[in-house]
């Protein structure tokens, strides 16, 4: 049976035990119309879509008690925990001042484009998104834990009121059994002159399959700064859509992927400049070793009236191992003359000149290589301006790569 038909079959069977919801019905219709993505679609070219075919069951996994030890909490950050896509406890009680839990809207989500079609799986099988609103200034950490088998569909809808400030850490952690699926959907609405600093750290176990959708809309003079670190999972795909809707809205995207063995990790960021004086930067560093594959597709569109827009992209890949791949695609579609744009994409192996320089100073080859790899990733790591979080990420990175990320080594 084709995967799409299997999804519908499971859905029909599963929904018999649940009250009918319009949003699910609408999502099913949309999914039937759009179909699942295929490798011939350029936007999914580097994704591992076969993993979707190997998902054992699309119905949501049961809520389970938290078994793995969560990462150390960070001082000053309130923590919310979702296990297999569902809140582990009363969210409202855990929220910090300035953040409130709103009642579920009961409305269905309108896709920002066909890119987001896998978010329809969340609509189909997942609970309604938790809706949070931020006013003033706040710091929040959300831990998504996947464990056991089955599928999980975390969903978050977060609104920043005009002028609000939020530091948001999202972590995907846990260990799945083979055939499991994690399919989150996060929607962010950033109000006028509001600022969101977003840190997404993915350290899932090596059997996990993750297809996540991130939808971001920015109002006038809103700022969105994201640092996304992807280390774990057998297959991880991020589909992000960022809409700069208000004048002078700005996004800074920092991405870091490190993949080993046969991991496949790809990220697509579609960024629409829809208003004048909007700015976007994308900095991506991908390190692929053994037979791992990494992809980054930075797809920027600037509409005709978005004069004064600025676009910068710096995408770099580092290959270790003859079977590794890094595919970088900087793409700009510009419909206005009044724009500053620059982009660059390079992929290669460690520079032998740099390596020799370090060896000539007495460093052993393993340390020299680790140092150069750390430096390569340093640009992206530098975006993590929360010191204890950065230390945790460096530790995870070191464990993942089997190299030391040398404390104090980087500028």
């Amino acid at each position: 049976m084709q995967t799409l038909e299997r999804i519908f079959s499971e859905y029909r069977h599963w929904q018999q035990g649940h009250p009918p919801e319009t949003r699910r019905h609408v999502a099913a219709e949309q999914l039937r119309e759009l179909g699942l993505p295929g490798v011939r679609d350029e936007r999914w070219r580097y994704a591992n879509l076969r993993a979707l075919d190997r998902v054992q069951a699309f119905v949501p996994a049961a809520v389970a008690p938290l078994t793995p030890a969560p990462p150390e909490p960070l001082a000053g950050f309130a923590r919310l925990i979702f296990i297999n896509g569902q809140p582990a406890s009363d969210l409202a009680a855990a929220l910090p001042p300035g953040v409130s839990l709103l009642p579920a809207s009961g409305q269905w989500y309108t896709l920002l484009g066909a890119d987001e079609r896998l978010a329809l799986l969340q609509q189909l099988f997942g609970a309604e998104a938790s809706v949070l609103r931020v006013e003033g200034s706040a710091q929040l950490e959300i831990l998504y834990v996947a464990q056991g088998s089955g599928a999980s569909y975390p969903a978050l809808h977060l609104e920043l009121a005009p002028g609000a400030r939020l530091k948001l850490i999202e972590r995907q952690v846990g260990t799945h059994e083979p055939g499991g699926l994690i399919c989150p959907h996060v929607q962010l609405l950033i109000g006028a002159a509001a600022e969101l600093q977003h840190y997404r750290i993915q350290t899932l176990g090596t059997e996990s399959v993750l297809y996540e959708t991130l939808s971001v809309q920015l109002a006038e003079s809103a700022r969105y700064r994201i640092c996304q670190v992807a280390l774990g999972a057998a297959t991880a795909r991020t589909t992000a859509t960022v809409r700069l809707q208000g004048r002078a809205a700005a996004v800074d995207w920092h991405g870091l992927s490190a993949a080993r063995d046969q991991q496949v990790n790809d990220c697509r960021v579609r960024c629409d400049h829809l208003a004048p004086d909007t700015h976007s930067t994308a900095l991506f560093r991908g390190l692929a070793s053994a037979r791992a594959r990494i992809g980054f597709d930075g797809d920027v569109h600037v509409v005709a009236n978005a004069h004064g827009a600025k676009v910068r992209q710096s995408l770099r890949g580092l290959l270790e191992g003859s079977g590794s791949e890094v595919n970088l695609r900087p793409r700009l579609t510009i419909l206005t003359d009044q724009i500053e744009a620059s982009h660059g994409a390079t992929t290669g192996q460690l520079d032998e000149q740099l390596l020799f320089y370090l060896l000539s100073r007495g460093l052993d080859p393993a340390t020299a290589r680790a140092l150069l790899k750390s430096a390569f990733l340093g640009d992206a790591l530098a975006a993590i301006d929360i010191a204890p979080l950065r230390r945790q990420v460096e530790h995870s990175l070191g464990a993942h790569l089997g190299d030391l990320i040398l404390a104090g080594a980087l500028t």
Partner: protein
């Protein structure tokens, strides 16, 4: 080992991509000596420096190099460095992201471990480095920057000498460290070298010009051309080369 030269290069032959570059170089350096290697472009000066430091891409097709009584060519580059051999690069690379201070400390500790010493204390390290930076007139702010990242040409060369001052090598091979320097920077580089001169330490200065040798007086000057040492003399040879160039030597060699 007593009486054995610090460095003994005998009939060294080296090819790059199958093309002979060094065709039988002989060089003997005793402890405490400063040797200058001069010669026209393409004579093999930098090749000699890199082969001594162990850079890949050079095929040694004949001859031998002994250093501190050991077969230098059998050692990996990092082993040579830990044994006290320092290469000052003609074109020091930029390593964005790697902290200057970290590299200095890691390099120093690698050498100390080799000598059976403990790692240097953080305070002692900073005291040492800051004193050396003062000698080289390098801004302390550069310590926390990436290695040579955004440095001017002169700053890079001074940073090479700073590393040498901190690591206190037994043998320093400086590959055209004087090239591209203005007169003030040249004097600073010379000051760095002279600071370190001692009866136990030797230098091989690869240079195009005599001007560095106005400030660092060598014990011997060698002219390398067409992959061989054509002439060896004292400091006066460098002055003669400055006046007459290299052609007369090349003509004599061809005769």
């Amino acid at each position: 080992m007593s009486g054995e030269p610090l460095l003994s290069v005998e009939n060294l032959q080296v090819s790059v991509a199958g093309q002979p570059v060094l065709r039988g170089v002989n060089l003997t350096v005793q402890r405490g000596e400063v040797h200058a290697i001069m010669g026209p472009n393409g004579s093999g000066k930098s090749t000699l420096a890199h082969v001594l430091a162990g850079r890949a891409g050079y095929q040694v097709t004949g001859g031998s190099v002994r250093y501190l009584g050991r077969d230098l060519l059998a050692l990996a580059p990092e082993e040579r460095a830990r044994a006290g051999l320092f290469l000052g690069f003609q074109y020091p690379v930029e390593i964005p992201g790697v902290n200057n201070a970290y590299l200095l400390k890691a390099a120093l500790n690698a050498i100390r471990r080799e000598r059976g010493e403990s790692e240097i204390d953080a305070f002692d390290f900073l005291t040492l480095v800051k004193a050396r930076m003062q000698t080289m007139q390098i801004d302390e702010a550069l310590l926390s920057r990436g290695v040579n990242e955004g440095f001017s040409g002169g700053e890079k060369k001074r940073n090479e000498i700073l590393q040498m001052l901190v690591l206190e090598p037994v043998l320093a091979v400086l590959d055209e460290t004087d090239s591209g320097l203005d007169i003030d920077a040249l004097k600073l580089v010379a000051r760095g070298i002279n600071t370190l001169r001692s009866p136990e330490r030797s230098f091989v200065l690869v240079t195009h010009y005599q001007r560095l040798l106005d400030h660092v007086v060598p014990d011997q000057v060698h002219v390398l051309a067409r992959g061989r040492v054509l002439r060896t003399g004292g400091p006066e040879l460098a002055q003669e080369l400055e006046r007459r160039g290299y052609d007369w030597l090349l003509e004599q060699a061809a005769a």
